[in-house]
Symmetry: C2
Subunit: 143 residues, 2 copies
């Protein structure tokens, strides 16, 4: 019997494949894209701030920024008032790409529910929220 969980896991796999493929074509990975996404939202940030935002170690951020720098998505700029720190700054290319990806995200949002009536979409969203709440409760109970 195929359950809700089975279906969700399948969607998870498919979404992951779709995202990974799209990013690969742009010379990005999921981890680097997460950083870039935070960066676009936060504006130029120290690696320390990015480590907190992404919940990874500072050392990990060093590696991700290394990769993004080499591929032209960010630059390391001196911090104006703290000579220990660095401001990771998105390049024009990165800003353009993130904007385009936001558009594609919106398109995918629409394409995904093609074939469902507006009422069905609303019910689907409500059900997803219930499932999300259940999951979060389970995770909080024994992590």
């Amino acid at each position: 019997m195929t359950t809700v969980l089975d279906r969700l896991l399948l969607v998870t796999t498919l979404l992951g494949d779709d995202m990974t493929g799209a990013l690969e074509r742009e010379g990005l990975t999921t981890a680097r894209t997460h950083l870039l996404w935070q960066l676009v939202m936060l504006g130029p940030s120290t690696q320390q701030a990015l480590a907190v935002a992404l919940d990874v170690t500072p050392r990990n951020v060093t590696g991700l920024v290394d990769g993004l720098e080499q591929t032209g998505f960010v630059t390391r700029e001196p911090h104006p008032s703290d000579r220990r720190a660095i401001l990771v700054t998105p390049t024009e290319r990165a800003a353009t790409l993130m904007a385009r990806m936001q558009g594609e995200h919106a398109e995918l949002s629409i394409a995904l529910v093609e074939g469902l009536s507006p009422r069905e979409v609303v019910a689907f969203e409500a059900a997803l929220d219930v499932v999300t709440a259940n999951l979060q409760r389970l995770l909080a109970e024994q992590p």
Copy 2:
């Protein structure tokens, strides 16, 4: 505005966290568990067969089997008729664990839809199937 896609991505993240945490407690990773899962379904298999089933390179399978062997989940047995090949075989421990995880999977399936009526669950499953089909079509169109 929070879309269906946003909600699905959130569920995806939460499910991933839940699975990763549960596996970590058992000394497993997601990649190794995928192999183990296939192995339990296929029965003792050559690494070649596993590479095909998992859609990874034979070299990758060597690494995964190395890890599973060291942690006591599989053994490498000689192939009865082909001296080039190896039969990767799940240990008793692996079989027991996979059976238990199957049970936990079933429990999670139920806990996930707590608060939804049977009719809502059916509608939810149908909507998930529509979304899955849409996703698969999009992936087939330009991969």
